[in-house]
């Protein structure tokens, strides 16, 4: 970065540079990760209080609670991801750099997905301890579900976070817009995680992963196309 460049860098270069910047900010404060980890832990704990002391019930529904905790935490994380940019008009600065708006979308969405993956990795052992679950079909399956799930939540979530971060009552707006949208993803995630945790005798995991993959392709595509219109002025 020391020499001045005559032409702007490409989409992937800009995405990586912006992602690196976001991760660096996150690493230096670790505020967002700390906040969402403790928030999600508290949520997992609350589910067990809401259900009473029946551990079998908890174990049976663990997949759904796991993803609900991540979803609630993701609303906080994604809302915060654009709040950083609205301070000191940073977003305008990035766009004047000039960075491709689509690179801003990709970097933000990837950054949010990485954060959610990290959150999932931290939550798993806690869930094993609290709910008494065990990973039956293997960690590769679980990793795939976590990867696809985090990507599925962050693709539409990043679009809506960009919108709601500039609106009034943004803390209400983001969940109100996002929750109905991610219902197909949440449904297949809860189902797929239950299959991973309780065994998959009928071989259904593949079809739920396929649905998640399709959801990802659609929303990453639509977000990539529509995001530039959101942050234009």
């Amino acid at each position: 970065m020391s020499t001045s460049r005559p032409r702007p860098i490409g989409l992937i270069g800009a995405t990586l540079a912006l992602l690196r910047k976001d991760l660096l900010i996150e690493w230096r404060t670790r505020a967002r990760l700390n906040a969402i980890v403790f928030f999600a832990l508290a949520t997992l704990l609350m589910f067990s209080f809401a259900l009473g002391p029946d551990t079998r019930l908890l174990e049976k529904n663990a997949g759904g609670y796991f993803w609900l905790a991540i979803l609630f935490a993701s609303v906080l994380a994604m809302g915060e991801s654009f709040r950083v940019e609205s301070e000191n008009a940073c977003l305008d600065g990035i766009r004047l750099a000039p960075a491709d708006p689509r690179a801003i979308y990709l970097s933000k969405a990837l950054g949010n997905a990485l954060l959610l993956i990290a959150l999932g990795i931290v939550l798993l052992p806690v869930m094993v301890a609290l709910y008494g679950v065990k990973v039956v079909t293997g960690f590769v399956d679980l990793g795939t579900v976590l990867l696809l799930g985090s990507l599925a939540l962050s693709a539409p979530g990043t679009v809506y976070a960009a919108i709601s971060s500039n609106a009034r009552a943004r803390d209400v707006l983001l969940p109100l817009l996002l929750f109905p949208l991610v219902i197909p993803a949440l449904l297949s995630l809860a189902k797929a995680t239950s299959l991973v945790l309780q065994g998959d005798p009928m071989n259904q995991l593949g079809s739920w992963l396929g649905l998640l993959l399709g959801f990802n392709l659609i929303y990453w595509g639509v977000g990539f196309v529509l995001f530039p219109r959101i942050i234009e002025d």
Binding site: A167, F179, P180, L187, L226
Partner: protein, 239 residues
Amino acid sequence: MNKLIKWGLPVVGLGVLAAGWWLGLAWAPPDREMGDVQRIMYVHVPLQWMAMLAMFLNFVAAVAYLVRSNASWKLDSTAESAAEVGLVLGALGMVTGAIWGRPTWGVYWSWDPRLTSEAIMLVTYTGYLVLRRFVEDPDKRATWSAVVAILGAINLPIVWFSVRWWRSLHQVQSSPKTVDPQMVLCLRVSAIGLLLLTIALLMHRYRIAMAERQAEVALPEALPGNSPAASVRDTPKVA
């Protein structure tokens, strides 16, 4: 001419709708199995059709707004009025469906794909209208709400598909039905009446929306959303 449509259309629509409902209640034969309960169909089915139509109009207007480089307020106002009218019709359709479901299925609500998709549709467009209330800048509001409308509309078939898949592990619902020609006629008359009424409502709401846009562009400070308290809250905290 304009005035004739403005006042004539709702009157004609209400008249045709009343005729259709009267035929449905008094003239059409009762259903063999459901009896008189089935007559709510003449209210429920047209409501659902018109709700779908209005939501489709909203989607088309939203896409057109984003695609066209010199999109006017007309498209944005069309989208707004379609979403609001569609939400009212869809909510009424859901309530009438629940009233029918209780004596027929024994429950007000069932998690089948159609009902679930409809519920999610109502929540989606409620979010859409809430977003419109919370954004003061008319340009941004139009663009953002168009994006939200498109994402929400794409979502509905995915929801329908995924819930069907999810449910198919438990039960499959099927209801083959043969419909009496008298019933078809009543349904058609009710649907045409409601269609006319829906168009009248859309046009009325559209006029209100256009008047709002004009007021916003002409006098941005005079609007209730831009009270001093709100503008202080909105300014970024930069010294």
